[in-house]
Symmetry: C2
Subunit: 385 residues, 2 copies
Amino acid sequence: MVYKMRVLILGADGYLGWPTCMYFSKRGHEVIGVDNYFRRMACIELNCEPLINNPNLVERAGIWEEVTGRKIHVHIGDVTDYQFLKSVFEEYKPDAVIHYAEQPSAPYSMIDRDKAAITITNNLISTLNVAYAVKEVNPSCHIIKIGTMGEYGTPNIDIPEGWIEIEYNGRKDKFLFSRQASSLYHTTKIQDTDLLWFYVRTWGIRVTDLMQGPVYGISTEEADIDGRLMPNFNYDEIFGTVLNRLVVQAVAGYPLTVYGRGGQTRGYINIRDTLACVYLAAENPPKEGELRIFNQITETFTVNELAKRVKKVGEKLGYDVKINHIENPRKEAEEHYYNPKYTGLIELGLNPHHLTEEILIGMFKIVEKYKENIHPHKIFRGIKW
Amino acid sequence: MVYKMRVLILGADGYLGWPTCMYFSKRGHEVIGVDNYFRRMACIELNCEPLINNPNLVERAGIWEEVTGRKIHVHIGDVTDYQFLKSVFEEYKPDAVIHYAEQPSAPYSMIDRDKAAITITNNLISTLNVAYAVKEVNPSCHIIKIGTMGEYGTPNIDIPEGWIEIEYNGRKDKFLFSRQASSLYHTTKIQDTDLLWFYVRTWGIRVTDLMQGPVYGISTEEADIDGRLMPNFNYDEIFGTVLNRLVVQAVAGYPLTVYGRGGQTRGYINIRDTLACVYLAAENPPKEGELRIFNQITETFTVNELAKRVKKVGEKLGYDVKINHIENPRKEAEEHYYNPKYTGLIELGLNPHHLTEEILIGMFKIVEKYKENIHPHKIFRGIKW
């Protein structure tokens, strides 16, 4: 089989990882998926298993091949183990590596000192290893990293796409836009950016950093082929993203958990658009020695707006949906200015799926199918900042 | 004995750590020194032992007590081991903790992937542990951390003391000044700043971050009391700081190693002023919830200026001193704008020792005493960026 590109996906078993594997495989690329099952183990440890009990990565790849005839290579191992990662690079010499292999939860990172240390070590050593493997094995390989809009925090000025020119005392220079996050997890993503920016300048590697907002959505075009190919879908406070959680809460008859006043504004993105963005980045690599940054969101909402939309759609579908403003367990501004720019990916060709009533109804319909798997006591435990 | 303050010094066996222990002890404070001997072991591993073969930390504390009657408590252990660090906090409940327990060498961090990983893990987990120990045991404890001017890099605009107000599209906000370092080690110090700034905002702890330039000097007031109390003094490329190295090179008849064109400008500080700065910070703590940043330098020089001064003094003392512009092993600007502000510590009361001919002669005189310990092959090995 003649492949277009060889793509290594780290964190291939995750919410975004598995759908990304299928998306690239479907489009004629050779896909190598790596995962250490950290997320699966953490969900058991913390008693917050996802809504849908998905097969493991080896099984998923088998089902994908059975259904489509396309092979996804799978290696189970830890990206923080450099010899392991290097051996995968040596075996495949990928054209692009998509780095999702991070501890992705803000509340997880705030539970205690040990979870904070796991988050720092996992996220920074995995990123360091990716940079070293690229430099030592395959220097032209394009690193695509998922960053987060949370790196910027909620500044009182507009948020550009990664960079800002500063004029100070009559002189000018260009810098990374100042970052100031509101969880330890988000802080490790700032540190990732620092790390990659250093190696980009020093070694001339090429990196795309996608500053993503909270993702929502339960299925993708490829997952729709077969129920066994569905993405992981967490509805708990630790690993669930906000809109996904609110939909499950509505179906479960659990009052929607809005933290504090609910004026927290963020940029959101549909999981289908995440796949398209990562794909666009891979198809259009930056030049060597460039750190290219895109803000990967398609629209902004307050939590109150999301809750109202979920309530409206839920009531249309016959649910009695209540909104509960609970005491905010986090330290964050509950009303603030928020004006990020996000035109770079549109210019590359992204055609966004905005959050319509139809999309919300689609999410409700899938959650309803798995309704018996919802354990209301797993929804909220109040991890404090 | 009635002590003024109880001060925990992490990295107490280091170039700055041990002189800091004596400085605070002499001034009536109770001092607890912690070290894991990382630096001693690394110097053996990398074949770059210091000029003076100093007694270990337990012995140093014994000599100090013998000479002055003042006790310094010593605990040998690793600050990245949280249970160990927490037990020290619980035993002493310090008023201030001075965090020097980091891997401090830029070339070390660039040797290979494993040394980079050690630098990241050691520096970030030690800082995380300090923040957690303060929060869990003693929340009002003042954290004094040694940062580095290298965090700022060499921007084309003036460098303020840590913070900058940015006006953008007609709105304003205040941010950490954008950081962009030129080694992995210096990048971990940026990451430290990110980490502490997050916990300052989240937990309301109090932190002073001292952005220090390269330190020079061989002795201090307290070390002058007894030769066995001398600071560590590295003259190699890995752990030696630039002016210290140049003086040893002059005494050894080794042509002064200037990297590239030598226009690299940095802010410098005498080790005696480092002690005074840290002491001023400890005596004047910031309020809770404040990250206070000072640029801890007293004057700026190019490497060429340092080499010329060393040559001039060396020749006055009868040495034949040559300057050798070797190929720069680092990736850095060799000519650049550099205008940092450094008035904060002066305003707190610092009375700087500038780099005079007399001070340079003093350094030569001490190095001459230990001349037989200089191994010229340990001076330069060319670790590449």
